[in-house]
């Protein structure tokens, strides 16, 4: 008797996600190969927002580059400013006054809180919890952006830091407002956590999704909350203790499983630690100068430097080569999210197609920085 073949013939299909897709937070494309609902392979395609940032950086003078760094990761302009000016200060051997160091730390830690609010809000957006947590975050973020506006004149494109200090001293009325914002933050984070941390939908969608083992995280050069979510204790603020981070008492929140949920918890924890740093900085900040006098035409000596900081998204580094002229010979941005994306295909393999948006959301990309 002849056997009848009853098995269905199956084949993989290729689905194009993006470039215009709400979960990509910009213009980012993923070519996903699916076996049914399960992801077999994923290929990120980027560059839609490429605008020759590094080539423009070689054309500009050192000073002209500062506003351009605002537009890398447009949520954290203060962190980008800091990384760039510290690289140039290292190149030129410029000392920074005490008060300016404190102002910088205050701004950068406020930026970290802003970034994590937006990152968590966007992650929840992707999970289908549309804009309720996001708007809770944006409400508090607006108070911080008001502070940025008071100090620098702009909410998001701050362009505030300069070589050897910051552009302006804190205006009158800034410190009382800062104190009130910082005092309100723990209550806000508690409220945010009450809404989300033990939310059943968040647990179901985030736990055991996109697990990144610590060895793999290191091999793939992951940094920031993505790395620490996997339990690797590596925070550049502690390791390099650049600027004056060695004067503050704070912890490094770590995850255990390395899944999407742990990255969420790390971000919440980092917001709390930033509040701690801010409280100490407000107490310790001295009076004095906020910038040093530099020659009108700034020409650093020849040489090359690399300087990195712990930006909210990971290791942000600038590699500068100087030939002794007024503009950099080479200006390279080591952007954290571009490199964190290298691991995305590995995180997604074996998961369902709906989990891709959660995993991508937990990496927290900003395309201004990925594509440069």
């Amino acid at each position: 008797m002849q056997r009848v073949e009853t098995r269905l013939r199956t084949e993989t299909i290729t689905v194009n996600m993006g470039p215009q897709h709400p979960s990509t937070h910009g213009v980012f494309r993923m070519i996903v190969t699916l076996d049914g609902e399960t992801i077999v392979d994923l290929e990120p395609v980027m560059g839609y927002l490429h605008r020759c940032h590094e080539k423009i950086g070689e054309r500009n003078t050192y000073l002209q580059n500062i506003p351009y760094t605002d537009r890398l990761d447009y949520i954290c302009s203060m962190s980008n400013n800091l990384a760039y000016v510290m690289a140039v200060e290292k190149l030129g051997g410029i000392e920074v006054p005490e008060r300016a160091e404190y102002i910088r730390i205050i701004m950068v830690e406020l930026t970290r809180i802003v970034n994590h609010m937006v990152a968590i809000g966007a992650l929840l957006n992707d999970l289908g919890c549309f804009f309720t947590p996001m708007l809770y975050g944006l409400r508090e973020r607006e108070r911080i952006l008001d502070l940025f506006e008071m100090a620098s004149g702009s909410r998001m494109m701050c362009n505030y830091m300069r070589f050897g200090g910051v552009r302006y001293d804190l205006p009158p009325g800034f410190t009382p407002e800062l104190k009130s914002v910082v005092a309100a933050l723990p209550t806000f984070i508690d409220e945010f956590e009450r809404l989300l941390t033990e939310n059943e939908i968040v647990l179901a969608r985030c736990q055991n999704v996109g697990i990144l083992p610590p060895d793999m995280a290191i091999a793939y050069s992951c940094t920031g909350p993505l790395l620490r979510g996997s339990g690797v204790n590596y925070d550049i603020r502690k390791v390099d203790s650049y600027s004056i981070y060695d004067r503050f008492d704070f912890d490094v929140p770590l995850g255990t499983n390395g899944d999407v949920y742990d990255r969420y918890l790390v971000r919440i924890g980092e917001m709390r630690q930033s509040v701690r740093i801010l409280e100490q900085a407000i107490e310790q900040i001295p009076e004095g100068e906020v910038s040093v006098k530099l020659p009108r035409v700034f020409k650093p000596p020849e040489g090359d430097v690399y300087h990195r900081i712990e930006s909210p998204k990971g290791e942000l580094g600038f590699y500068l080569v100087s030939d002794g002229s007024t503009n950099p010979y080479r200006y390279k941005v080591r952007s954290p999210t571009f490199i964190n994306l290298t691991v995305l295909p590995e995180l997604c393999k074996g998961h369902k197609v709906a989990d891709v948006v959660a995993i991508l959301g937990s990496i927290d990309i900003v395309l201004g920085e990925v594509d440069r």
Partner: protein
């Protein structure tokens, strides 16, 4: 930091020509042929398990690829490796077999500077589209004019 690393490397690789460059960030100059073995030694024997940045630079007489290595477990670094590549045929070995995280960074260097990485699993452009002519971060690249993307590259 780099001095001790350099001395240990010289002990380990007596035949290769290494050079210590005293700069703001002290660097170790390596020949392209020895790069892979030196990097493997740094990763496996000296604990530099984290490749932070891969940068290509276009100097008037040569291309240079700069690697910044750190150790995440022992929290030390930085070790800077510099590799030269010729102007005519720029090629250096790929470090993706050691650090998969080098994948996109090497593709970016290839895309913008045009240095090829031998042994890279999928060396193609990452920020610009396939079919783009030239490498924009080279110093001789024209800063005026434009190229348009064709319909076939879009799909």
């Amino acid at each position: 930091m780099s001095r001790e690393v350099y001395e240990r490397l010289v002990e380990e690789f007596p035949e290769t020509s290494l050079e210590y460059l005293e700069e703001k960030d002290p660097a170790i100059s390596v020949k392209a042929d020895d790069l892979f073995e030196v990097a493997r030694h740094l990763k496996e024997k000296q604990g530099y398990d984290y490749l932070s940045a891969v940068t290509g630079v276009d100097y008037p007489d040569r291309f240079e690829v700069v690697y910044h290595l750190y150790s995440m477990r022992e929290k030390k670094g930085v070790v800077v490796l510099k590799v030269h590549a010729s102007k005519e045929d720029p090629e250096v070995p790929s470090l993706v077999p050691l650090w998969p995280g080098a994948n996109f960074q090497e593709r970016e260097v290839y895309d913008l500077i045009g240095i090829r990485f031998a042994g890279h699993p999928d060396l193609k452009r990452v920020l610009l589209w396939e079919g783009y002519e030239g490498h924009p971060l080279r110093k001789d690249f024209p800063t005026e004019g434009y190229q348009t993307i064709g319909q076939e590259e879009l799909s």
